[in-house]
Amino acid sequence: QQNKEDFFLLVCRLHGRYHEMAPNIVPMDYTKDPDVKLPIQLIINMPELKENPFKERIVEAFSEDGEGNLSFNDFVDMFSVLSEMAPRELKAIYAFKIYDFNTDNFICKSDLEKTLNKLTREELTAEEITLVCEKVIEEADMDGDGKLAFADFENMISKIHLR
């Protein structure tokens, strides 16, 4: 019973955050099934995501249409996966989707280049970027197709000691 109450409070808090981003659009009453989606511009300005170099990709990965418009369901989904209680395997699945910029279910060289540019704010030279991308693919690609499928990514992530 205690679990359900905590859960309910958590959802209320999340709804409060969702509502305060656009009080005109988001209703307080959700029982009538409102079809409300917040655009990506509002969500990436949240303080938790503001400094994140991958904020656009994160929001896009959790949206239904792939454009970054989040309904409340998607909003709750996003925070549940980003929380520290979410299991590692689930985080790996979403991390793969986030790093896959062209959404073809592979992390290819261009995806890696975009990742690197976002990480270092485009201050590495082109040659350095190419070198690092080649090294990453060399380290992680297992089936030899020159790009990372989810299996390659997951295997490499499991080897990385996070924390």
């Binding site: 299991p87 592979f106 201050e123 197709d145 020159g146 499928a149």
Partner: protein
Amino acid sequence: MEPRWAESGRDGPGDDGQWGHQPPSSLFLQLPSNATLRFRGPVAKAWGAALDQEEPPGFPPDQDGGEAREQESVPLKQLPLCMVEKRRLRLQEQQAAKKWSHWERWRVEMRHLREQVGGALLYAQVWRDSLHRIEGHFGTGIQSYFNFLRFLVVLNLGGALLMVGFVVAPNAAFEALQLNQTQRLENSMVNSSCLEYDPSKRGLVSYFTYLMDLLSGTGFMELTYLFYGYYQNSAVDFVGFSYNIPLAYLLSTLAFFSVCLFWIVRRAVHLLKRSLVSENGALNTYSNKVFAGWDFCLTPGTMVHLKHNSLRYELRMDLEEQSLRWRMAQRSPSQRAALYVLRGVLNLLVVVLLGAAFYCIYLATKYAQQSQDSDQGQQGVFVRLLVAYLPSIVITVANQLVPLAFGFIVRLERYPLSLEIKLTLFRSVFLRLSSLLVLLFSLWIQITCHGDPDASSCQICRYNHQQHPCWETSVGQEMYKLLIFDLVVVLVVMLLVEFPRKLLVTHGPAIMGRLWGQQEFLVPPNVLDLVYGQTVCWVGAAFSPLLPLLNTFKYILIFYLKKLTLFSNCRPADRTFRASSSNFFFLLVLLLGLAIAWVPLLYSVFALQPSQACGPFRGEPTMWSTLLAAIDALPRVAREFLQFVGSLAFAVPLFLLLCILMFYLMVLANSYSRLVKELKGQLQLEGRDKVFLVTQITELS
């Protein structure tokens, strides 16, 4: 509206690969290995609406009741589905649950309970908020230091409870209740000069002497619960059993060491489990940095900007190291020979430095001990304090200066950067732990007259009873002084070096900021300080039962002091300290400290004659004989079993068996790594097969 990811032909530019013909990705999407990535349907019901029982499109097919049971073996939390699907599945599960047997229901309840307990434990950790704040501002590297400190506090608290509960508290209770304590051994057979021991001062003593006694554990502090000498070799008889004080003392000390060993090993194994899966740890550096380099826990502010810079710096350093290795491989043989000679000379220099440091420590200890029992009251208080703390001062100075020299030397040796860091760390660890051993060795020399039982001062009592009438208390006092001095040094450095530096850099002339810069919180030296302090506590715990408790308070104080200096004076490091592998490294160094602490303990218990004038083992030939006597008093079966376990007939076959087991495990590990290599090759082949087949299918259709 079809989601973007389902459209075909959306590979990135230049990804033709080795096959010339581009296989459409829509076919790849339908492969089972990609099943986890497809999940979001185009339509989602809003929160709170009545649940629709229709299956939304895009959901993986064949999800009926039979599959639902398989689903529950994977907890709902772990499925990458959107909320609507999860709710639907939960409803299905609840409906199916009515048909379950007792066993299934119990299993599910156990799983829920475990999840709840795990969640609750995560919230119940002490100092959780502080660690989160530190992580947010400085990253996980520095947070690992505070995590380690927290672990040490908990470890010391556990040990303190053990020692206090079995040694100090019963003694205090017996005295308070004025219970009758029966002396266990008669001391009449012993030479009376060995029994002379009176640490309390005579006559008028100045006020400063009390301060001096507090800081060095002599005088009024000596005959208290703090030190070994206060306890008596007696037993208290209750109805049914008798509480044997020396036995309790010995067993609780051994239990304390064993509990620490078990706890640290368990934690190290838990941390090692994740990192041992990979065989080529060194080859993961680039992927590590690209995919796991960004610290998502960083809160907005200047730290984010610094993190970008540090990532860039690290990637550049790695590329530079790469080119350095390539250049090194190009060197000619004569250049290589010259480099090796240089490295040999520098290593010799390192050994000479270490030898000089150890000799200074030995001299300081000898001088301090000798002047302590020559004139007692004729020098000034400050001079006496200085002399009493001389070994601690010399050790601390050596521990600060010699690593600086190491850092300079290692740069001349021109190793790759990662090896440089490891080598400096290894040398510093060796220096710190060995300096403690040298201190103990010089004490041993005085106590046992260079190990010679026939020397003039050791002939009567088998130890130097003139200088050390109660030698265990002397050792305990040295460790107590080291502990106090360590804390004082932390305070002094913080007040006199770090705060002024911060003030100078922020408010002083701009050139100071450029030349010196703000303080950087370096994790390895701080961790080595902690390990050194913990080793001191362990060595002293056998001779001073309250030392673990004091150490707990000291570490709690250090936590708050370091947190204060971190937030006020420091900036994050340029080169990020990889937290995970270093967590294991910290525990390894801690284990090394524990191993070093076992040596004096075992030697004192088995080989040295306990003081006859004081302590719970007075009159016994060794400390271990108490246990032997207690075993003799056991019933016959237990006694014979324990005697068998302690004999060679058991130990030698056990040792051989362990050797065989270790050899077998090494061979097993070797064969597993070979198997993994073969499987990797096979995986590549399968990948090529898959692409070939998909190409053929698309060509035929």
